[in-house]
């Protein structure tokens, strides 16, 4: 019996790993990197944590700088802010203003962004420049003219004044952003929809918007935040104590003399909750690849 030597092809060398793997990094560099990241995280989180911990401290101990953080935690601060102050009213005001800003803001910037992305009309370039330029003025400069306009309209000390002011901040930016997002959706989809019998608005509503969910989610979050914690316009426009929004209201807890830190910290923690809720719902829509498979080439 003869054995036939089968010559096996030599195993190919494994393709060289192009991506740097974690273990390739020198130990010292790794330590330095992580130390830096850790430091940055602590710096970012510390104020929030400090406020959270302080909010559970009894009012008389809040200013002591001792590090024994929570030795006898209490919910008294929360009870006080919720039942002994106009905080709930301010909270409601803020929710209303932020919700309107968000809904109107999305509607305006989405339609505007779509028009900028798909249609040619006189003054399109000019409009886009205006959007950019208005973003460059600081609030401090805008606040006076807008106040005058609101006063002329008789809107001072009403919620619409704030909603409108916040929209002037949020809409131009969001329209730009959404326009960029719409630009990534192939134009052929609009054309297919037009041939399938949809008008421009139907196309926008039934074909484009469902595909723009991530962009809309970011817009929602951004517009909400614009209104939610805002202070400058709120202080300027709102005069009655029970019409204040949260940003302006919380300032009332810390007047120059006799600041009430325990109320401020508890209120600040409560303020975080709606923003976190909105973020939670928005981030669920931040998915990539919604337009995958629609077109090729």
């Amino acid at each position: 019996m003869t054995t036939v030597e089968v010559s096996k092809p030599a195993p190919k060398p494994a393709p060289k790993q192009l991506q740097r793997r974690r273990s390739d990094r020198p130990l010292l560099a790794s330590l330095a990197l992580h130390a830096t990241l850790l430091g940055a995280t602590v710096i970012a989180l510390f104020p929030v944590l400090w406020i959270l911990l302080s909010s559970f401290k009894p009012a008389d101990r809040i200013q002591s700088s001792e590090i024994t953080l929570v030795d006898d935690p209490t919910l008294e601060n929360y009870r006080a802010v919720l039942f002994d102050t106009p905080f709930p009213t301010w909270f409601l005001n803020s929710v209303i203003v932020a919700a309107f800003t968000m809904v109107i803001g999305i509607a305006m910037s989405a339609t505007c962004g779509y028009a900028l992305s798909r249609f040619n009309f006189a003054g399109k370039r000019g409009l886009m420049w205006v959007f950019l330029i208005t973003q460059m003025f600081p609030v401090a400069i805008l606040i006076v003219p807008i106040y005058t306009i609101m006063a002329n309209l008789g809107l001072i000390d009403t919620k619409p004044s704030l909603v409108i002011a916040y929209l002037t901040v949020a809409v131009p930016f969001c329209a730009w952003m959404l326009r960029g997002y719409f630009d990534t959706i192939p134009k052929e989809l609009d054309e297919a929809a037009a041939l399938d019998g949809l008008g421009p608005f139907g196309t926008f509503w039934r074909v484009i918007l469902p595909l723009a969910r991530p962009g809309l989610a970011v817009t929602a979050f951004y517009t909400f935040l614009t209104a939610w914690g805002e202070v400058a316009y709120a202080i300027a426009f709102m005069q009655s104590r029970n019409k204040l929004t949260l940003g302006a209201g919380l300032q009332q807890f810390v007047p120059q003399f006799n600041p009430q830190w325990h109320l401020l910290t508890a209120g600040s923690v409560l303020i975080l909750i709606p923003a976190a809720v909105v973020f939670f719902f928005a981030q669920k829509h931040l998915v990539a690849g919604l337009t995958a498979g629609g077109t090729k080439g």
Binding site: E188, L290, G293, T295
Partner: protein, 365 residues
């Protein structure tokens, strides 16, 4: 039943450009006909199609569907379905929803939509995929969904813009026969755009050739192949392309390499110069012996053996006017060596002649 489509002196100039992308197009597509629009890239094929679909505003002239002037109607009022080059399926809808979308918008009862979608899916072999999203389909399946979306609507006119260009060669061949037979079965007037002249020859009832936005010729595939009206059509239709070259004419004979080829009297009579552009197809070259009347020598450069056929690419020997290669169809199996000299004559009656100035065909008899 099916309707005709007519371009009446239709032109389109894109905003910001000066040359028309489609210039004074005059073209009638008969009811139920499959007309293929071919031309090189940028010749205005897509533009012509989009004018019909209403996706571009016609600058001048009219577009008619049946007797109805649709020049200024919106796309949705034209009852046209289009298959896009990149499919343009709605990514957020399932295959069934994609196909039924137009009917849903039109307010068709759900049961009817379902029935029609299922019927189209059956024709196109898409039944197992009806609930899938487009991203979970292969390129060929997406292409069929795009077709399905068009046929479910039972429109008056189909517009197809290079629907096969994203498919691999094999799938393209089988799908093109499927489309052609489907079109015949549905009897729907269809305009089919392609830059692939093989597709044009195999699918079309008639073929229209565009160049730089100008319609060159319309006719049956064989008509274009046998009687091209100008040198452009002659060179564009046919694969491998027709041999075209400019040759000197003396005494009613054209000097092709070393051969003196007699020209028909009608041809020489129409000549305005002492040169002529001649064309002869690869299969019109017959093997000859050295010294046969009208024979010329070709130096073989490459021989392509395709099994049933073989094509020889070579240089014309003794020719100073042209540098292009000559392509000849030769008998397979016993092909000449590279570098060998081969003699050919042109089959009688197979010579095309074109004016060197205008490129227009000269009479051949």
């Amino acid at each position: 039943m099916s309707t005709s489509v007519r371009y009446d002196q239709a032109s389109l100039v894109y905003p910001g450009t000066t040359a028309p992308a489609v210039a004074s197009l005059d073209l009638t597509i008969e009811p139920g006909e499959l007309l293929v629009l071919v031309g090189p890239s940028g010749s205005g094929k897509s533009t012509a199609l989009r004018m019909l679909a209403g996706l571009e505003d016609v600058t001048d002239g009219r577009v008619l569907i049946g007797d109805k002037d649709v020049t200024h109607l919106r796309p949705k009022d034209r009852d046209i379905a289009m298959v896009f080059q990149n499919y343009a399926l709605y990514p957020h809808m399932s295959v069934a929803e994609n196909m039924g979308f137009a009917l849903k918008i039109a307010g068709t009862p759900k049961a009817d939509i379902d029935a029609r979608v299922r019927e189209a899916a059956k024709i196109l072999d898409l039944e197992p995929y009806l609930e899938r999203k487009p991203k979970a389909l292969s390129g060929g399946q997406r292409q069929r969904v795009a077709m399905g979306r068009a046929i479910v609507r039972q429109p008056q006119v189909f517009c197809m813009d290079e629907p096969l260009s994203n498919l691999d060669a094999k799938l393209r061949v089988s799908t093109r026969t499927q489309i052609a037979s489907l079109q015949r079965r549905l009897d729907t007037t269809t305009i089919y755009v392609t830059h692939d002249q093989v597709e044009a020859m195999t699918m079309g009832d008639r073929v229209a050739v565009l160049k730089d936005g100008v319609l060159q010729q319309v006719g049956t595939p064989l008509g274009l192949y046998e009687k091209p009206v100008n040198a452009f059509v002659a060179g564009f239709i046919g694969s491998p392309a027709m041999n075209l070259g400019t040759f000197r004419v003396t005494d009613g004979h054209a000097q092709i390499g070393e051969g003196r080829v007699p020209l028909p009297r009608a041809m020489t009579g129409a000549l305005k110069a002492d040169t002529v552009q001649l064309g002869f197809r690869p299969e019109a070259l017959l093997p000859a012996g050295k010294g046969d009347p009208g024979s010329f020598a070709v130096e073989a450069l490459v021989v392509e053996e395709l099994g049933a056929d073989a094509f020889l690419y070579g240089n014309l020997i003794g020719d100073e006017l042209r540098a292009d290669h000559i392509v000849a169809r030769i008998a397979p199996r016993s092909v000449p060596e590279k570098g060998a000299t081969v003699w050919f004559t042109i089959a009688p009656g197979a010579l095309h002649a074109f004016d060197t100035e205008t490129g227009l065909a000269l009479p051949t008899d």
